[in-house]
Every structure is written in structure tokens, then in C-alpha cells.
């Protein structure tokens, strides 16, 4: 089986949604064990759409849990996230997503 990049898409909704406040934002570097993320406003009736592009497979459920926690804890809503992942651990993913939000003044 040849190597390829895999795509995962999740659509989640926070319990207490807060609309994402800026048009476009970007954070991170796709280093080994790291990831970058683009977060943009997108009208999704309060939901969040997250696309992950990654060389790693078999971690769908881990991604879901990390992302659900992130969405519920931050309340991020009406946003589209695009992640380029390079083998980041759940801890790193959590950290980077939160850092991405904290960069938005």
C-alpha cells in the first residue's frame, strides 16, 4: 500500500457556542510532530467544521475526542478549521489549537 496523505473531516457543535470573531487566522509550523491550522469564519448554524490532512491513519477517534473537548471548552462556533498535521500527539494538537485562539486579540 503506497503512502499518501489522508483527510479527516469532523463537524461538531459546542454546548455554549461563541461565534469566531475574525475573518481569517493562521497559526503554527508543520514541523515533525507538529501542526498548523487555519481558522476562518464560516456560517454553519453554530457548528464548527474541521478538516485534518495527515500522513497518519487510524487515529480518527483520538482526533474526535481531542476536537470535541477543544470545541466544548472554547465554545468556538461558525468557524472552519483546516489542519496540516505532521504526526502531532493529542497533547500537541490541544496546545496548538488553544494557542491559535489565544493569538487572536
Amino acid at each position: 500500500m503506497s503512502k499518501q496523505l489522508h483527510e479527516l473531516i469532523f463537524e461538531l457543535k459546542a454546548e455554549n457556542p461563541t461565534d469566531f470573531p475574525v475573518d481569517f487566522s493562521h497559526f503554527g509550523v508543520v514541523g515533525s510532530g507538529d501542526m498548523e491550522v487555519i481558522i476562518e469564519q464560516k456560517a454553519l448554524a453554530g457548528a464548527v467544521r474541521i478538516k485534518i490532512v495527515s500522513p497518519v491513519t487510524g487515529y480518527d477517534e483520538v482526533w474526535r475526542r481531542v476536537l470535541e473537548r477543544f470545541v466544548n471548552e472554547t465554545g468556538i462556533a461558525n468557524a472552519s478549521l483546516e489542519i496540516n498535521d505532521n504526526n502531532a500527539t493529542p497533547v500537541v494538537v490541544s496546545l496548538r489549537l488553544r494557542q491559535a485562539l489565544s493569538e487572536i486579540v
Binding site: 493562521h26 487555519i38 496540516n84
Partner: protein
């Protein structure tokens, strides 16, 4: 409340990512990124190899101002596949230089008397191992195209290299940097052709021990390059230090900037050939042998002394040192 840009100024250049460097080197708030993450121009080749992509393909390009001067910026991200040059990365690098030269032509056609302080310049923050092997042909082509753009810039647009990041500037990009007008480094910057690990792999640990950090820095680091004359200016490891050195260079007349490079005249070629003769005669075992020849009586002390002391006391290798 300190702005982001102001905070960047005191940051370690070595620790700063490509975007931070690009934003911090030009005037506050002046940087506009071109072909950035928003445009998502990712590598078309990496996915086929199952390799992760980056929205900017490992390079930040754009325009900012330094005083009244439009500055075309390229800043490489060493953490993305070693800052290596792939197709998109290469195209961005080539095209930002091309854009600078086109802007020069446009500005000077509209106003032939445009003062130097308003004429464009190119700055490149190198952090790269050279060609990205996954995209080797495209990477190599980009090196050639970039050298071609440099030629088009001669007589028009000064090109300044800044080398002070973790990966250093190696591979084909080493000679590309050597083809620019001015090289500003920090002592943590490294500049060379074949990287230390590759030398060790090819020639063995006895020839070159890549894990010997002191050796690596004596051979390719900023202080050695400064003694050899491969780098023009050595600065402290902060964004503001690099920025200040850049400002000092950019106020010089272009005719002066154009003389500061390593190559570009018969005299300079002859100087390089003399250096080859010197090495053949002396057979140096270590950079310190050359430092001594350059007139530094205590070469061992040069590596650790504070930068300001180093700059005051160090002797450069000159033409007369290389002489008969």
C-alpha cells in the same frame, strides 16, 4: 501596551520562526505577506509521497518598508522539511526577487531621478538545507532561476542575506547566498555547502565529526565566516540587531553595496584562488590554523569571548595573509 512587532524585536533571531523574522525585520506594521497560508499553495508532490504539506510550503514571502524603501522579503522556515527548496517554495523565492526587479524598473521608468532611499531592495532570511530531495528537479531548477534573477538585479536592486537560524544555510543555497551582495550573520548562523552530517556520512567520522558542535561552528559558524570574509557583518542574536545592521547597509549607496559580495569581479576570483593556494601550502587541520595565519595569536580564545570583544580584537584573513 507593547505591540507584537515591538515584542519581536528583542526575540532571539535563532528561535524565531520565518514569519516572525519577516515581520520583525521590516518597519512596524509594514509587512504584507504574498502567496501566504491564505492562498494554500501547497506542494503538489509531497502528498504523492505521503508527506505532510504546509500552506506556505516552508517560506514566507512579501513586501514591507524600511524607511522609504520598499523591501521584498523572503524568509525560510527551517522546521518544515529543513527549509528545503521544493517547487512552490522555489517559485515563491524566485518570484519575490523577480517582483523586486520589476518594481525597480517600473519605479525608475516613472521617475528616473528616484532617490536611492526609495529604491527597492531584497532581503532573504536563509534557513535551509538546500534542495528538497522529494522534489529534486524542481528544487535544483529554482536554484538556477534564482541565480538568474540575481543577475537581472545587478546594477538595480541590492540583495542582502541574513543567516542566523537553526538549520543554517547549506546545500545549493550556500552558493546562492554567496552570490548575494551582503551577508549578515549571527554567531549562531552557519553557512556552507555540504552539511556536517553529509560530510560525515560520505567521508567518515575521522574526517568530520558532525556531533562535535564546536568543530561544526569553527568550520561553518558566523565567527569563522567573519574571519574568512565570507560574511560582512556579525551581529547579536536578536531580531533588532539584524534589523539595525540591515538599516545600516541599506543607507549605503548602491555602488558601495555592490562591492561587498564574495564574487563578481576578477579581483575577487583571484582572491579566492589565492585562498586555495594557501590551503594547499599550509594544509590546515582546523579552522584555528587559518585564524592564526590571519593574525590572531590566540585562536582558542576567539570562540568563546563575548561578541563585542571578538569584533574589536579579531583579525580578518586578508589578501596579504594569503600571499606568497
Amino acid at each position: 501596551m507593547t505591540s507584537k512587532w515591538e515584542k519581536f524585536q528583542q526575540r532571539s533571531f535563532l528561535e524565531s520562526n520565518a514569519r516572525t523574522r519577516a515581520i520583525g525585520l521590516v518597519d512596524s506594521g509594514s509587512f504584507t505577506e504574498l502567496a501566504g497560508p491564505r492562498h494554500r499553495i501547497t506542494s503538489p508532490h509531497l502528498p504523492l509521497l505521503g508527506e505532510a504539506v504546509e500552506f506556505d510550503d516552508g517560506i514566507v514571502t512579501g513586501v514591507g518598508m524600511i524607511g522609504k524603501k520598499p523591501v521584498f522579503v523572503a524568509s525560510q522556515e527551517g522546521r518544515f522539511i529543513g527549509g528545503s527548496v521544493g517547487e512552490v517554495h522555489g517559485a515563491k523565492l524566485v518570484n519575490i526577487v523577480h517582483l523586486a526587479r520589476k518594481s525597480y524598473d517600473k519605479l525608475l521608468t516613472a521617475n528616473p531621478d528616484l532617490p536611492e532611499e526609495k529604491r527597492p531592495a531584497v532581503i532573504i532570511s536563509f534557513e535551509t538545507g538546500g534542495v528538497r530531495l522529494h522534489e529534486a528537479n524542481a528544487g535544483l531548477l529554482a536554484h538556477a532561476e534564482l541565480m538568474d534573477q540575481f543577475q537581472d538585479c545587478k546594477g538595480k536592486v541590492p540583495i542582502i542575506s541574513l543567516i542566523g537560524s537553526r538549520v543554517g544555510c547549506f546545500g545549493g543555497m550556500g552558493f546562492v547566498a554567496a552570490a548575494t551582495d551582503v551577508i549578515i550573520m549571527s554567531q549562531f548562523g552557519r553557512l556552507g555547502l555540504t552539511g556536517p552530517e553529509v560530510i560525515e556520512e560520505e567521508m567518515g567520522k575521522d574526517e568530520f565529526d558532525a556531533s562535535d558542535r564546536a568543530l561544526v561552528y569553527r568550520t561553518t559558524g558566523g565567527r569563522h565566516k567573519y574571519i574568512m570574509g565570507d560574511c560582512n557583518i556579525l551581529v547579536e542574536d536578536t531580531i533588532t540587531a539584524f534589523r539595525q545592521a540591515l538599516q545600516e547597509v541599506l543607507v549605503k549607496p548602491y555602488v558601495e553595496i555592490a562591492t561587498m559580495g564574495c564574487i563578481g569581479s576578477l579581483k575577487k576570483v583571484q582572491s579566492q584562488l589565492k585562498l586555495v593556494d594557501l590551503c594547499a601550502r599550509v594544509s590546515p587541520k582546523d579552522a584555528k590554523d587559518i585564524w592564526k595565519i590571519a593574525g590572531n595569536d590566540n585562536p582558542d580564545a576567539l570562540t568563546d569571548m563575548p561578541l563585542d570583544v571578538f569584533l574589536q580584537t579579531v583579525k580578518h584573513l586578508t589578501n596579504s595573509d594569503q600571499g606568497e
